[in-house]
C-alpha cells in the first residue's frame, strides 16, 4: 500500500513534467501544424535561465586574501558577490538562495522573446512545407541551441539548488496514520507538482475564457474559415508560440533543482514528450495532459522492484522503459487517434 502510494506521488511528478512539455507541443501542433523538434531545447533553455540568473547574482568582487593559498601556492582570491556587498550578508545570501523561484520572473520575458524570434524568424516559413522539412529544420535548430549552451556553460551538469526551506521531505505516512518514513516525499517536488497544476490550469482558463483563446481554439478547428472572417490569425498564432515556449521554459526552470541542468536534458525529454502528445491524441490539449500523467504514473510503477522481479526466475531491469512504450502501442492500436485525438489531424 505504502509503496503504491509512493509511486503514485512519484508518477504525478514525472507526469507533470511530461504534461507541461506535451501541452506546449500540442499547442504548436494544433494551432500552427508544425512538428517542433526544438521544443525540448526550449525546456532546456528554461533550465539554463536559472543557471544564468545564478551566475548574474553571483557576480563577484575579487579580493586577495594573503593568509590563505590556492592549489599552486599563490595567495587565494576570495570572491564576494556584489549582491552581498549591496544588500548586506543576510539579504544578499537570501536572494541567492531563492534564485530558482526568482528565475521564474527572469525566464518569462526571455522565453516569450525566444518563442517570438523562433516563430517569426524560422517557423513561419515552414507552415506550408511538408512535415519532414519541419522535422529537419527544428531538429537542426535544437542541435544548434544545445551546442551554443554547451559552448557557454560546458557539458557538466550545473547544480541549481532549491531554496533552503524546501530541502528535506514531507512525511505523508505520519500524516495519514502510517508508520514513520513509510511514505516520504521531497517538498520541492510537491511545489513542482502544484506549480505544474497551476500552469496547466492557467493555460486552459486562458483558452476557455478569453476572446483571444476563443479565436485560437477556433483557429485550431478551422484555420481557413477564421482567416476568412477577417481575423488576423497569424499574429495570434505567434503569440501562441511564445506562450508555448514560456510554458516549456517554466517547466525547465522549476525542474532545475530536481535534476541539475545540462545541455542535453532537452533531447532526453523530447522523445517521450512526442509519445505523450500522440498517445494523448493529436490536437487535443486535455489528451496531452491526461497522457502525460498516465504515462508518468505508469513509468513510476514499472520501475518498482516488485514489478521488475515479477517473473520470479528472470529479473528485468529496464522493464520501465519497455512497459511505457508497450502501453503506448496498445493505446494507439485500441484507439486509432490516441486517447482524445481528432480525426484528420496529422494522419496523412
Amino acid at each position: 500500500m505504502d509503496a503504491i502510494l509512493l509511486q503514485i506521488l512519484n508518477g504525478l511528478d514525472k507526469g507533470s513534467a511530461y504534461a507541461l512539455i506535451a501541452l506546449g507541443l500540442t499547442l504548436i501542433f494544433g494551432t500552427l501544424g508544425v512538428v517542433n523538434f526544438a521544443h525540448g531545447a526550449l525546456f532546456m533553455i528554461g533550465a539554463f535561465c536559472v543557471v544564468t540568473l545564478q551566475k548574474i547574482l553571483n557576480l563577484s568582487t575579487v579580493a586577495i586574501d594573503p593568509t590563505k593559498v590556492d592549489f599552486l601556492g599563490n595567495p587565494l582570491k576570495v570572491k564576494t558577490p556584489y549582491i552581498v556587498n549591496w544588500f548586506g550578508e543576510a539579504a544578499g545570501s537570501a536572494i541567492i538562495n531563492w534564485s530558482v523561484p526568482l528565475a521564474i520572473l527572469f525566464a518569462i520575458p526571455i522565453m516569450l522573446l525566444v518563442g517570438y524570434v523562433m516563430e517569426r524568424g524560422l517557423i513561419k516559413h515552414f507552415y506550408k512545407r511538408p512535415h519532414a522539412d519541419q522535422i529537419l529544420v527544428t531538429f537542426g535548430l535544437a542541435i544548434v541551441l544545445q551546442e551554443i549552451i554547451k559552448a557557454c556553460y560546458g557539458a557538466n551538469p550545473i547544480p541549481t539548488p532549491a531554496p533552503e526551506i524546501f530541502r528535506g521531505s514531507f512525511d505523508f505516512g505520519v500524516w495519514i496514520g502510517m508508520a514513520e518514513n513509510a511514505v516520504i516525499y521531497p517538498y520541492w517536488r510537491l511545489v513542482y507538482f502544484a506549480f505544474s497544476a497551476l500552469i496547466i490550469g492557467l493555460v486552459f482558463a486562458f483558452l476557455q475564457f478569453t476572446t483571444f483563446g476563443m479565436v485560437v481554439r477556433a483557429g485550431m478547428a478551422d484555420r481557413e474559415t477564421v482567416g476568412l472572417l477577417g481575423i488576423n490569425i497569424d499574429k495570434r498564432f505567434t503569440i501562441m508560440f511564445g506562450i508555448a515556449a514560456a510554458v516549456a521554459g517554466l517547466a525547465g526552470v522549476m525542474y532545475s533543482p530536481i535534476n541539475s541542468p545540462n545541455y542535453h536534458m532537452g533531447m532526453d525529454f523530447l522523445v517521450l514528450s512526442f509519445v505523450v502528445v500522440v498517445v494523448g491524441g493529436m490536437g487535443s490539449l486535455p489528451g496531452a495532459v491526461l497522457a502525460g500523467f498516465t504515462l508518468g504514473i505508469l513509468e513510476s510503477f514499472a520501475s518498482m522492484n516488485e514489478v521488475k522481479g515479477f517473473f520470479e526466475a528472470i529479473y528485468l531491469p529496464s522493464i520501465d522503459q519497455i512497459i511505457i512504450y508497450l502501453v503506448a502501442i496498445v493505446i494507439l492500436l485500441v484507439r486509432p487517434r490516441g486517447l482524445m485525438g481528432r480525426a484528420g489531424v496529422m494522419e496523412e
Binding site: L122, F126, F139, G140, P317, A328, L332
Partner: protein, 393 residues
Amino acid sequence: MFDKFQNNDRMLMLFFIFLVLAGPILLAPFGAGYPDLLQRFCIFGIFAIGFNILFGLTGYLSFGHAAFLGVGSYSAVWMFKLLTMNVIPALILAVIIAGLFSLLIGFISLRRSGIYFSILTLAFAQMSFSLAYSVLTPITNGETGLQLTLDDPRILDAANTSGSLPSTNFFGLTMNSTAKFEFFGMVFQFNVGFYFCAVMLILAFYLAMRIFRSPFGLMLKAIKTNQNRLNYTGVNTRPYTLAAFVISGMYAGLAGGLMACTDPLAGAERMQWTASGEVVLMTILGGSGTLLGPVLGAGFIKYFENIFSKINENVLHGWFSFLPDGLEDLIVWVLHFFVGKGWHLTLGLLFMMVVIFLPGGLLQGASHIIDWIRGKKQSSSTQISNPNSMPAE
C-alpha cells in the same frame, strides 16, 4: 545534369558505379579515403536507400528503422560466433531476420498512418533498444556490445590455434586486408571490405532503381499522393505498403550485417532513436524520393561525424599558419567552435541551411549549381520538373 540522369537509367547507373568504385581515389584528397569511412559510406548508403523506398515512395515516415539495422548486426555476429567467419551466411541470416522482424512490426504499425504510424515504429524501436541494452543481455551482451571470443564454437571453420581472433572473410578473402599505394605523396588504400560493401551498395542501388521504375513503385507513389482516392477505387493499399516496409527493413538488415562484417561487434546503441533519426535526416538531407539523394545524404553526415570531429586546434593552426599571427589566432578561435568537439553545431547549422535554401535536399543543390554553370536555359526546365524547388522565403 542530375535530372538528366534521372531520366537515363543507364547513364545514372554507370555514373554511380564509377563514383563508388573510384571512391578510394576520389575521396583521398578530402581525407576520407581510408577503409573504415569508405565502408561506412557504403553501409549507410544502403541503409538510406532502403529507408527511401519506404519514405520517399510511400511517404510513411518510420522512426524505428535502426531496430532492423541492429537486429541485422546481432544476427550476423551470432553467425560469426556459431557457424563460420565467412560473411555470406551472416549476411543471409541478417537479411532474413531483419525481414521477419520488419514484417511483424510493419504489420502492426501500418494499421495507422501519419504521425501515429511514426510513433508506433518509434515505440517498437525504443522497446527493442531497451531489450537489447539490458533485458536480453545474455544474447546481446548489453552495453558492452556483442563481441567475438576465442572460444566461440564456429563449427564450420577449422580450429583456431593462433591465439588471436579470426577475421571475417569472403571465401578466404579477408575483409580487413588492404593494399596501399603511394602516388605523389598521397596514399590510396584499396580494401577488400570496402569493395565488398561497394558491390553490395551497387546491387542495392540497382534493385532500388528497378523498384522505382516498376509498376509496384508507381503504386507506392500513388499511395503517397493520395491514399484515400486509391482506397475509394477499391485498391487495398496495405499489402503494398507492407511490402515496401519489409523491403526497406531488409535493406536495413543488410546494412547492419555489413557493419558486423567489417567490424565484428554489435552494440545496442545502433538501435537507439537517435540512430533511427539519423537515417531520416540522411534521406531528407540528400533529397527524399530521389535515387542518388539518400546516398549523398548518408555520405555527408558520416563525413561530418568522422572528419570534422577529428579537426583540433593544432590542425587549424596548421591550415592557417600562412596568415599573420594575430589574424591566424582569431580565425582559429572562431573556427574551433565549429570543429572538433563542436562538430554537432556545424551539422545542425547544415541541416537548417539545406532545408531552408534547398527544399529538395542536397541533390537539388547540386543540380542548381550545375545549371548555374551551364547558364540559365536549363535552370528554367528544372523549375518545371521540380515544383517544390522554391526557396522558403
